[in-house]
């Protein structure tokens, strides 16, 4: 690691350390509260999944009925965990890529608190029975302007930083992140205005809702995670992105194809006949932006498999990219109108696909980013390599089980629902029971690992991490670190006379 060509100059490192320091509190606030919301969401997910196989579970309390916990679970996952992890990553990455210190940390932090408050009110509102009943938009209607304003207060500084960046090359990550930040208000305002402010035909409202959900996945979470992975992979591995032209193909196909997706959820509804087909076709075509980006990133990282194995960041990111490939294949498989689409419209499969997108892909990349960013903004290294490993394995096994159970269980359930000559209880409900058990157990695994992840993160924010100049790698032996002799980052680091060499 001492080759001169890859070493930054001291001036450069100072600038980057300055950027990291300026962002410590907003970034740590978003990441920590994201992890806390993830745990809340998982608890609600376990309760709602338990209702699938054991309907009598907690049935005395209306706050924990299936309709409410399922909605609260998904909304806490999307707006509590997903968005806040994205905020933390966006503001840090774009500051770094634009080489600008953050000058609005206080404002972002305040907006972050308001966002959290709105989410809390929204989740409690759903549990109390004031949900709107629109998938992914179940928060009571008054929260959406608050969320929108807060969103602008959080990300507008990154636009400013992009505007005043040193002129030159715009890196792939910046394409994706800037695009996602621009697309989200468009999606959010369109859906909320058309559903809450100027409600029209209810059939079309269901279509707009389905489009919102799919656009949030494909036009917000996907580009955020891809942009992050395109940054982390070359950063940790020190290798250039495999192919620039492939990256361009991936970005523009995402931008052009994905706004059309979503309406296939209304196949068979009285809307113009071509709309569900266009939706199904473009969701199938998600394979192209996803697969090209995944291959590009995997090719970059896997030229050094040992590095992927040792670096927590790369390991999580690559798991996320594998999740992306699975999700892209599922997008093809679940949207064939002649057969699978009818089975997946109203069954567990839709949920399985959303979990693939939100967790197996997006969340894993976010975990990777968190393992990269947090030591930089806190100047402490991760406390325990075992906790990281545990987080990784419990998450990977848990999410694989959920994806398999939800998608294939959902198809079984869909086939059962289509068998209209059989009683629903026996054909559809009974088929889903065992898959329901599998999902509950898997969420419990994931919850277990994430509670420790949250504690680990909180300890880091309290600056109780390792005071080392060495990163925490997933190897037993730190003796042969490529970073030279280990030093204490605060007292007798490598810069002191005794440690310098």
């Amino acid at each position: 690691m001492s080759s001169q060509s890859t070493n930054p100059t001291g001036q450069d490192a100072l600038l980057r350390a300055g950027i990291d320091r300026s962002l410590r509190h907003p970034v740590m606030f978003f990441l920590t509260s994201a992890a806390a919301w993830l745990a809340v969401s998982l608890i609600l997910g376990i309760i709602s999944s338990a209702k699938v196989h054991s309907p009598g579970f907690m049935d005395g309390c209306s706050w924990f009925t299936y309709g409410r916990t399922q909605a609260a679970h998904v909304n806490a996952l999307v707006y509590g965990w997903g968005f806040q992890a994205a905020f933390g990553v966006i503001i840090w990455l774009l500051s770094r890529l634009s080489r600008q210190e953050c000058r609005a940390a206080g404002l972002i932090l305040t907006a972050g608190h308001v966002w959290n408050f709105a989410i809390s009110v929204g989740v409690l509102g759903i549990l109390a029975g004031y949900g709107t009943g629109m998938p992914w938009m179940e928060f009571p209607a008054f929260t959406w302007p608050i969320l929108l304003l807060t969103y602008f207060a959080i990300v507008v500084w990154s636009f400013v930083q992009f505007k005043v960046r040193p002129v030159g090359h715009v890196y792939i990550s910046q394409w994706y992140l800037m695009a996602a930040m621009t697309w989200f208000p468009w999606i959010f305002i369109t859906a909320n205005v058309l559903l809450h402010v100027m409600p029209g035909n209810p059939v079309m409202a269901a279509g707009i809702n389905a489009w919102y959900k799919s656009s949030l996945i494909f036009l917000f979470f996907t580009p955020i995670a891809l942009g992050t992975a395109f940054y982390l992979t070359p950063k940790v591995s020190g290798r250039p992105i495999h192919s620039y032209s492939l990256a361009k193909l991936g970005f523009w196909s995402l931008a052009i194809i994905m706004p059309w997706a979503g309406m296939q959820k209304l196949a068979g509804a009285p809307i113009p006949y071509f709309i569900p087909y266009v939706g199904a076709a473009s969701t199938i075509l998600f394979f192209i932006p996803a697969f090209t980006a995944a291959i590009n990133i995997l090719r970059t990282a896997l030229s050094d498999p040992d590095l992927v194995n040792h670096s927590p960041t790369l390991r999580f990111t690559m798991a996320g990219i594998v999740g992306l490939i699975v999700m892209a294949v599922a997008a093809v498989f679940l949207n064939l109108p002649g057969s699978t689409l009818t089975w997946t419209q109203f069954s567990l499969s839709g949920y399985g696909f959303e979990i693939l997108a939100l967790y197996a892909f997006f969340s894993f990349v976010m975990f990777g980013a968190i393992y990269f960013i947090v030591p930089r903004v806190t100047r402490r290294e991760w406390l325990s390599r075992r906790l990281i490993k545990m987080h990784f394995f419990f998450s990977v096994y848990g999410i694989s089980m959920i994806a398999v159970a939800a998608i294939f269980g959902g198809i079984q359930q869909g086939i059962g629902q289509e068998a209209f000559d059989q009683p629903w209880q026996e054909s559809a409900a009974q088929r889903a029971v065992n898959y329901g058990w599998l999902i509950t157990i898997s969420w419990a695994f994931i919850l277990f690992s994430n509670i420790f992840f949250f504690l680990h993160l909180t300890v880091m924010w309290l600056r109780l991490g390792r005071r080392s100049t060495h990163p925490t790698l997933l190897v037993a032996d730190h003796g042969h670190s490529p970073h030279g002799e280990e030093g204490d980052i605060d007292n007798c680091g490598p810069g002191t006379a005794s440690a310098a060499h």
């Binding site: 001492s2 980057r16 792939i172 032209s245 006949y273 076709a281 949207n335 030093g487 680091g493 810069g495």
Partner: protein, 255 residues
């Protein structure tokens, strides 16, 4: 990395220890300094198999779009005269059979909705203009006189000898089928507290229509004199046992 301690030049400002000052900087930047540079983008060719995989997916998506038909083809969603297929392997058993009394009364109740404007939904009339059907001797007694009144209407005093305000009941026979008449009569004789318990068959109703057509004053409402003189009798024809199971739609006996 050029370590500050290797800097051979002495610092001119004696109050600052250069080594320590640079050491602080290095500690500050420890994490950032070990980061690798993001190198320029690679320019590898796109592999053939990636293009092939994307091409296959393009074909699948094209096939999906090709199935979309014309843009606003509602006929594909809502087929004209659509009847749901019979479930495979399940014989069409039709609707559940009901007893004849229940089935005839249910149908008759629908036809009675024409009559309820005057006689009321409860069949009690209003006591001033329209007579009550509940407990009326002309309703519950012999069937022929009831049939004549329904088919031709009635004028003048009724069974109790009282003349009601409306004076004349218009004929209801136009367009009535024997089934309609049979079910209506069955309903009247078994509702509003009337409990005759018999079922008027379509055969009997047909006979009533024949009798009605053979009257001396065809087309005029019957009077109480005519009823007493000609129609105080049961209609000819087979009755149906009230607990026979019939198809509630066709009224045919269930197999």
């Amino acid at each position: 990395m050029s370590s500050p301690s290797q800097n051979p030049k002495p610092d001119l400002d004696e109050t600052i220890n250069v080594t320590q000052a640079h050491g602080r900087v290095e500690r500050e930047t420890a994490a950032a300094a070990r980061e690798k540079r993001i190198a320029d983008n690679g320019h590898e060719q796109v592999s053939l198999w990636v293009i092939a995989a994307c091409g296959i997916v393009l074909l699948i998506a094209g096939g999906v779009l090709g199935n979309a038909g014309t843009l606003f083809s509602y006929n594909s969603t809502f087929k004209e005269g659509y009847v749901r297929d019979k479930p495979p392997g399940v014989a069409d058993e039709g609707p559940k059979p009901k007893t004849a009394l229940a089935a005839y009364s249910t149908k008759g109740a629908k036809i009675y909705s024409k009559c309820s404007g005057c006689h009321g939904a409860d069949g009690k009339g209003d006591g001033v203009n329209f007579p009550s059907l509940a407990g009326s001797k002309w309703v519950v007694g012999d069937t022929q006189k009831l049939a004549m009144i329904v088919l031709n209407g009635v004028q003048g005093p009724i069974s109790t000898g009282k003349t009601y305000g409306a004076g004349i009941m218009p004929a209801q026979g136009a367009g009535m089928s024997p089934e309609d008449l049979a079910t209506l009569m069955t309903y009247l004789r078994n509702s509003f507290g009337n409990e005759v318990g018999d079922v008027v068959s379509a055969e009997m109703a047909q006979a009533a229509m024949d009798v009605s057509a053979a009257r001396e004053k065809v087309g005029q409402a019957v009077t109480s004199e005519e009823i007493v003189a000609n129609h105080m009798t049961m209609l000819p024809g087979e009755t149906i046992a009230p607990d026979t199971l019939v198809n509630p739609i066709t009224l045919a006996p269930a197999e």
